[in-house]
Symmetry: D2
Subunit: 449 residues, 4 copies
């Protein structure tokens, strides 16, 4: 029986991840993501209402039309975690497959929201939550296991396929963080165990493979110290306002912000629809535990009302918002443009607990945002952040734990995939022999033992 890894999306870009693994006649699909950058090129892209084929043509979602030539039956659509570049196309693509959607409880809850927002297609695939550490049989020959991982969103896992031909590990996206509060550390022991059993193929993310200076990704504990230092100084009797902006999906970070502000004299206001969505689900699942002085407001009306109060007593509130990339319609940019009841004033603190995701549009938006904030006298603390992706030395450890026979770098542009390839070569692998660089729509066939 042969094993085939089919690169569908995310092998030529950071975004729209999708991979299929065919074992004999059975096919497992991993992730169905969107490509956010492509949307910013075409101003008129209305995802919720557009047809898959149009979105495929614009490069917004993976081109899975090649699946019609794959001679096999899809047994499961497996999601590694809940970021949009992994689940954002689910409502556009999943209905074509007669197979269940599988993810951790937090991930499947986000998928359900995604499906609810869809205006074009009906998506009726059964949804099967699976806990980290658990297994499920997907076909006679394939059992899926979720191994605990860590990332910048809760309940990220390494989906692992146990097949008669060997083990296949799908490792998009992860970091090795032993100090998160919301998530337990990665299950290193299980990873080593898998390595001893024999991993046939590793499909692995490469986000930071090209970063040669930060060799191990810092823990969230580092972000906590940085934020503490920034926020606590400002709490001490300051009359000025304070805004923190971060990813609404980054529950670990949101928990950290809440914990730091818990004993301050400020009310913590989490503002905006996506804050409400992500925090709400995380609270329901018991992942996020907000203190007494924290409030989440999602509707424009509630947000406006909260901002009005904050405008009058700015030293009584801590605002937590979206908009760190300067997206013109997100909350922080709207605040900076005086389009809300809250106005930034001289001395107000604005903490960016997020990186600048590097593309020219973000750079421009962020520049405009910071210019406006500064023009109003804000103090800006950029980059109070640590990455959610493994560094080169983390990847090296990962390879030493798993010792896969074959490696397929994924989740990036070509230069990132080959940077990972070179790292693998330092560990004794060889590009072209057992490290396989695929382009979208290419496949690699392995023979099991």
């Amino acid at each position: 029986m042969t094993v085939e890894v089919i690169a569908i999306g995310g092998y030529e870009e950071v975004g729209k991840n999708m991979t299929a693994v065919k074992v004999g006649e059975d096919v497992i699909i991993f992730d169905m993501g969107i490509h956010l950058d492509r949307i910013s090129i075409h101003e008129d892209t209305d995802i919720d209402r557009m047809h898959s084929l149009d979105l495929i043509e614009r490069g917004v979602i993976p081109d899975d039309t090649l699946m019609k030539d794959v001679d096999g039956k899809v047994k499961g659509i497996v999601f590694s975690h809940g970021h949009l570049d992994h689940i954002g196309a689910v409502a556009k693509l999943a209905h074509r497959y007669d197979a269940p959607i599988i993810g951790t409880p937090y991930t499947t809850a986000l998928i359900e929201k995604q499906i609810k927002g869809e205006r074009k297609f009906k998506v009726n695939n059964p949804i099967r939550p699976l806990n980290p550490g658990s297994k499920i049989k997907l076909s006679k020959d394939i059992t899926l296991e979720f191994v605990q991982s860590t990332h910048s969103i809760p309940q990220a896992v390494f989906p692992v396929l146990h097949t008669s031909e060997g083990i296949i590990v799908y490792a998009l996206d992860f970091k090795f963080d032993n100090h998160q509060k919301v998530s337990p550390p990665p299950d290193y022991n299980r990873l080593r165990e898998l390595g001893r059993k024999g991993v046939l193929a590793l499909i692995v993310e490469t986000t930071n493979a090209i970063n040669y200076t930060e060799t191990r990704t810092y823990s969230e504990k580092v972000a906590r110290i940085i934020l503490e230092d920034l926020m606590k100084r400002a709490f001490k009797g300051q009359k000025e306002g304070m805004i923190v902006t971060t990813f609404s999906s980054h529950i670990e970070r949101i928990q950290t912000i809440a914990d730091i502000a818990k004993d301050s004299n400020r009310e913590i206001l989490f503002l905006g629809r996506s804050m409400e969505r992500f925090c709400g689900i995380a609270q329901n699942l018991g992942i996020l535990k907000l203190p007494q002085n924290a409030y989440v407001y999602g509707s424009p009306k509630a947000v406006n009302k909260a901002l009005m109060k904050a405008e009058d007593d700015r030293d009584q509130y801590l605002l937590v918002t979206t908009g760190h990339q300067g997206e013109p319609d997100a909350l922080l940019p709207r605040i900076a443009s005086a389009r809300t009841p809250f106005n930034v004033k001289k001395g107000d603190n604005v903490i960016f607990s997020a990186p600048i995701i590097p593309n020219p549009t973000n750079a421009a938006n962020r520049h405009i945002l910071e210019s406006k904030l500064k023009a109003n006298g804000a103090r800006i603390y950029a980059n109070a952040h640590v990455s959610g992706h493994a560094g080169r030395e983390d990847h090296r450890d990962f390879l030493r734990m798993l010792r896969p026979k074959h490696i397929i770098p994924a989740h990036g542009e070509l230069e990132m995939l080959v940077a990972y390839g070179e790292l693998a070569e330092e560990e004794g692998y060889r590009i072209g022999n057992n490290v396989h660089i695929l382009r979208n729509a290419q496949a690699q066939v392995f023979n099991g033992d």
Copy 2:
């Protein structure tokens, strides 16, 4: 009698240049420019209809309100050349001064257009064209001389004030180019002569002072060879389209493009309102000489009609357009977005004969522009361009010619002014002693001999 140099605008930014020189009781103003970047921050800035004070507050035009505290009479408003960062605020500010507007014929023609477009103010200052090489007496003690210079626009000059206290040279903006077709070389002999007579103060641009690698700015002759190589290969029997985009004010470059395409089998279409404006004035003044096969279309209707023809027979036309910075409403970006009758097709050549003016908004716009062009299959030739500003070694020569007693670096952010200051130190000057770094609204007083 004392001489005072008053920094009004352009000493903390690249843009909105304006400087006043007070000799005894008489004041001469140099340039009244706008700051284009500031407009892109505030989307709603409508220059033609806004009041000076609002524009001053937004940092779009120089803050000349300090002039009310200057105890003297303005005897002339002198313009060095016709770029918007030097003349763009004339219609907002000149009417406050009872003094003539003086510039070379090309510059004053552009100023007249500027005044005509103004919707808020009446500008009735007399306009006095003065030829390069000529002089005019502005007051009992002050004679103005225009010394021939070269830049990326025709009829750029060094305005020089001959006063009883010594000579003052205003050197914004220039390069040393001995091979332009449209403009004669700078009058080095006269500059050396001024040096021998004794220059009290030099006010000097610093655009490239911070660029330590390109030591002498390349001549336009270099741009000509580069463009020739690019364009002629494409002319040889190619069926594909060809677009060149450049500054509409850069008549030398436009002449070069026309000369190269003169003997080709293509019609040269200069397209867009600003192309029409700048080319028209230059043709009227005999500066630009377009060949038989060249046409200039300015009105939307005429441009559309021309584009329609070009769409059908793309190998019969060479399009010359604006839009090299990716400004969404300029012609090339509209073409790339399929908002005109002409569509870029596979293999079409797009030559950028302009730099990317470095700011985040341009970077984003240009990225989007190039993405769209490439998505349509265009071949892009970026940066077929040479700078219009003196390099470090050109500046060094300039200082050796003039040997001014005092130097005031201008036309840039602080880091550029001090980079020039360090260059002057290499030539024996000293920042703080005879190199004076001014901030907007600061002044420096000299005593003549």
Copy 3:
């Protein structure tokens, strides 16, 4: 009575810091440092044996010859902390002044070592240790106070002059770190108190003023977490060797490394003459507390013997060495070149707990060092480090605490000084008015109240 600040060295470079403050007839000198980069340009510079005037000519030490024109009497030579760019020229310059040397106990102990190594001059100035938080009267009108600061070396202080004309604060070099183990946090209360009393002038370092992204400098606590994460993983039953390289003067970091390795099964070997020098003094003064399993070896013979043991049982030792910049004769580069009994082998961990100090020679040396280490199979962890210099937002806080009337940026190249100047402008100051950019050998005069 006037106050004059005289820039002697360190106002045009990072290195050879020296400043004089004249209050009436009395002069206080701050720091006498060397410029390490200049030595690497002239290969044949033998500092210990060269005369001051030769070293001045080569730009290695401050040019204090201008002091002969200063009409006043030197009452004290005050050292802010023990780094070589602040104390390295003491043995070349101090003997010319009939004045005591004053510093904290750790700083003066280092100065004594410096003087002992001198081969050219006799330095007999009395040495007066002064504790952080203490004061000493230097003349009728001047009292010196040492305010507790934090930096990357123990017992760094802000020397403060109390004069009849107002308070003068000398703030080279510092960070705001509330979490060091070896040093207490900066005395913020005293700084605020000084601000309320009225600071006439602040002389302030600018190392990180030009870094716009890291707005607050991370605490050493962050370095501790990073190092813990790196080292503890490696301790777990690894058979491979481990080397950490850091500054021998960075006692806080050395303490951290020792603390992390204290309970491991490895002996900690601090190796090399400068390790011995700095650790020895710090231990004698009770600053550094090494655990039972730590050993310091300084002589070549002892180092070799230790390396021999480590070569045989590499998993029993943790080596802490100098050489992070790749200096060819430092220990780590010699290890990498196989010039010692210890050889780097496949899998050995090499942790750089230091930045690359940015200059081309370091870049080249470091590149060669890393190439050799990698060729031997080492795993390299670059940049497990946090800066020892205040970030822009720390500086902003500092200005808000002190509210000085005048600011003199120091300790950097012109571009760094003006970057600080722009920061001060954001706080309401103005370059040219109350922010004074000095070049070496320039002076600024203030009048007290």
Copy 4:
């Protein structure tokens, strides 16, 4: 019959190029170069006296030991041009093969010099000069043709193999320059003809593939204008000295320098052993034509004597030297360090007609060189240079001319090879399908028609 391309060296680095092509039983080897960077890592590498296997281990020359497993007979060792990264290992490797050495007359003359300098091996392979445009039969099935190319050394060619299975083109290294004086333009017609006949495989250099801004490489004509502008200004009655430093192998550039200085009042002195070597051979072959006022001095004694004269009458001489990378023992660095009779004085002009070849050692050496030159008062004109390697759009044209079935990017690190691969994808190819990324020691097999 199958065709196999075997990557021996230069597929993981810029340097030590070597490729074998096997057609049936016959093998053709292309180039045998050295890797200069590797030498600078190991200070003690003495190439002339070292054995091949030691040099292979240090990565200085290609590892051709894999050739013993290639089942075939080497019929020719073909050199594309005379740069050291293409011919530098000939004396270490060629004697192992019973096959002739083939190159253009200039290339073979340089190879002969190389062989003469060898101290370890006897190299007796017959040497067969072949002119550009000529052919030679190498075996029953293989004919070699040299197609005229252009590069930064004379008589660079595209070696082309005509085989029964199709045409194989070896395109290391080239640019498309239509305006060289010493070399005719590339033979575009023949390239197109080959394309029409059917190219099976293209092995192609990728030096500039990763440079996305300079889309077409500028012609040497551009370098000529830049140099003319720089040099002629300085000739006009200047009393100062003038030094130009460039590659001694870059005969086109040397010719240009000589042409510009021909009618000046200065004697042109080409100085140094390698200048003598390259100029001498080029003169003998009639490639270089030096004017009456030019002299070439190679021996240390002759160079010293010439420098002594130049020291006394610096305005009577133009010195042309090696040392642009700051190599400590080359002539210009020795001049800068005052180790020759000629000393750089205030105002002397130093023109770098060469790029900084980017590696950390060069950066450091060059920094030290420039620091010393500036300390002596020299005016430095950096980077009066154009590249010798094709830009992205030149490569695109090349692909459109040849339309090869298969492409093998070579001459670079992985990131350069894949950047070329992406360019090929824009032209309709696909990495993994017909663009083959090889690592050193990997091979790609094709089947002919």
